[in-house]
């Protein structure tokens, strides 16, 4: 490297290459990035604080809106945490349904990511293809839950809708569709020359770095760190599946490098794994109840009598989602702590960007499948005139506004 002066390149908070607001400050020498600095907090909504004023059932739907893509993962982790604290037993059938919905979500999230990543490297054919294919799983989720996103399937102690009859048929059809399509998808995503040229040996995160920086999800697995909550921790129906294990690039006979290509490999293989898991669950689903206590009001009353801590963990499409809830004989929890997968992976960006070229910034950025909104979930809103407004104040203001707007009452 020459001893020329370096420059600071600022990208974000809003930038066409980024899907969500985050600000980077790169120190660049010519085309090479020497160092990256990350600044977050542009999409704060104060969800952890708001949770303290909602009852246990209301929180499920609040947390569902942390992220639209992982809208099952957060309620799942939350329900597991509350069930852990209150020692509620989930019926067997509900565990299978939870697994199926979770895997369908993973399927659509990985396809969505593949499209975004392809778009970032300028490979729009793949972008159209994956997003076109993805419609099928979205339709399937709509049939199951009644909506394309924000499925509202989970509740404390089980699920809210059953998978039977026509719905089960739709799921089986989706499984068939993706099994048939998989080899073509794999061929495009793993063997295409232009994609390989753009992604191999770019944005490397080594095994040691991944371990030290507590990376999670496909980002960690691509570096050879076989962390997968589904395999490591007993949740839902996953312990029943004998062949389930964390996928690393070793599964295609490749030594993990931790570059972007490896992250594509892991996600593509996980598409197949998800399809297999759904098929397994549909074949082995036990009968019986789908929820421990169907009456929401009774659940709230039951949880009012609990004083305990609970931890809930679930492998979302992007990695480990983890919740820590504190219940204290109250209608509302006294503490809800949320961790989204991107939160753990933000810090892994720093080694990935080191030595990269400026043109590779967007693809490195999207290679961890970031969800900034998930990570930024816990602070306050800035009001007009650059003044920080407290939550109570904000609520009062909005209520006043609403009262003004209401007409004719």
């Amino acid at each position: 490297m020459s001893n020329k002066e370096t420059y600071k390149l600022q990208i974000g908070p809003t930038h066409p290459a980024f899907k969500e607001p985050v600000r980077f400050e790169f120190e660049v020498d010519g085309e090479h990035v020497l160092h990256a600095d990350i600044d977050m907090g542009y999409t704060h909504r104060g969800i952890e604080h708001v949770s303290k004023e909602r009852n246990f059932i209301q929180i499920i739907y609040l947390l569902e809106r942390i992220c639209g893509i992982c809208s099952t993962s957060h309620p799942m982790a939350y329900c597991l945490a509350v069930e852990n604290a209150a020692e509620i037993e989930v019926p067997a059938r509900a565990k299978y349904i939870r697994t199926i919905v979770g895997e369908l979500e993973r399927l659509h999230s990985h396809l969505l990511w593949a499209g975004v990543a392809a778009h970032e490297v300028g490979f729009d054919t793949l972008f159209y293809t994956t997003w076109d294919i993805r419609e099928k799983v979205m339709d399937c989720l709509e049939v199951i839950s009644g909506n394309r996103v924000n499925y509202a399937m989970l509740t404390i102690g089980g699920v809210r809708r059953d998978i039977i009859g026509e719905v089960a048929e739709a799921v089986n059809k989706t499984v068939e569709y993706y099994s048939d399509l998989y080899s073509q998808l794999e061929d495009i995503m793993l063997n295409d020359m232009s994609l390989r040229l753009r992604t191999e040996n770019v944005g490397i995160l080594t095994y040691d770095e991944a371990l030290k920086l507590c990376a999670v999800g496909p980002t960690a697995r691509a570096s050879g760190l076989a962390k997968d909550v589904r395999a490591d921790y007993a949740v839902n129906a996953y312990p029943d599946i004998p062949w389930l294990k964390a996928i690393t690039p070793n599964d295609v006979g490749k030594k993990p490098v931790g570059d972007i290509y490896d992250r594509i490999v892991v996600r593509v293989l996980e598409i197949k794994q998800s399809v297999d898991i759904i098929r397994f669950c549909m074949e082995n689903m036990p009968g019986g109840e789908i929820v421990a206590e169907p009456k929401a009001v009774k659940v709230i009353n039951q949880l009012k009598k609990v004083k305990a801590h609970g931890i809930g963990r679930y492998e979302g499409p992007r990695g480990e989602v983890s919740h820590y809830d504190i219940l204290d004989n109250n209608e509302c929890p006294v503490g809800v702590k949320v961790k989204a997968p991107t939160y753990s992976n933000i810090i892994s960006w720093v080694p990935m960007f080191r030595g990269a070229e400026i043109a590779d910034i967007p693809i490195i950025m999207s290679s961890i499948d970031p969800c900034i909104a998930c990570s930024d979930r816990a602070s306050f809103v800035e009001g007009e005139g650059k003044k920080t407004v407290s939550f109570g104040e904000l609520r009062k203001l909005s209520m006043e506004k609403m009262n003004k707007i209401r007409r004719g009452l």
């Binding site: 907090g41 507590c214 839902n236 964390a246 504190i326 702590k337 306050f380 800035e382 109570g392």
Partner: protein
């Protein structure tokens, strides 16, 4: 792989009085293949925290699973670190290891463990800005989630303290 009780015994040997309380809670999941998962809750002395984490990390690398939760009481804030041990071994053998300690409100300080687990840095920065607990030896002291122009003394996740009154 060590059993939670063995971990506690080793830790007790190492830090002695620093270990105040401990408890093992069991959780089951699975349908045909029911797996048992042992959760270890450890309560420490504030002074013993850094040494204990270093010791535990030597047994097997720790993974920090969730940002630190807190419970506020009259005199102290209890900070809870949900660590995981034996991550990535597969076969449902990961063990949650939940470490907590009290910080008196008169002296809201703790020490960073980024020298042992570099990945914890964002969570410590969050703790510092949201709860007002000063984290010593933190390599990066800037705010992360709250705006830079936020008023001093405004602590979003503290129950009773707030720089701005509700009116």
């Amino acid at each position: 792989m060590l059993h939670p009780e063995e971990i506690v015994n080793k830790l007790k040997e190492y830090i002695g009085d620093g270990l105040l309380e401990w408890e093992v809670r069991t959780r089951f999941d699975g349908v045909t293949n029911i797996r048992e998962q042992k959760h270890l809750y450890i309560k420490l002395n504030r002074g013993a925290f850094h040494r204990s984490v270093a010791f535990l990390y030597k047994i097997s690398p720790l993974h920090i699973s969730c940002p630190m939760a807190s419970i506020e009481s009259e005199e102290a804030i209890e900070l809870i670190y949900p660590f995981m041990i034996y991550s990535g071994h597969g076969d449902q053998t990961e063990q949650p290891l939940i470490v907590s300690y009290d910080i008196p409100k008169s002296d809201l300080r703790t020490v960073s463990v980024t020298d042992i687990i570099p990945g914890i840095i964002i969570m410590e920065r969050e703790t510092q800005e949201m709860l007002g607990i000063e984290v010593e030896n933190l390599p990066d002291e800037r705010r992360i989630f709250t705006p830079d122009n936020m008023e001093e003394g405004f602590l979003p996740l503290r129950d009773k303290v707030s720089g701005i009154s509700e009116e």
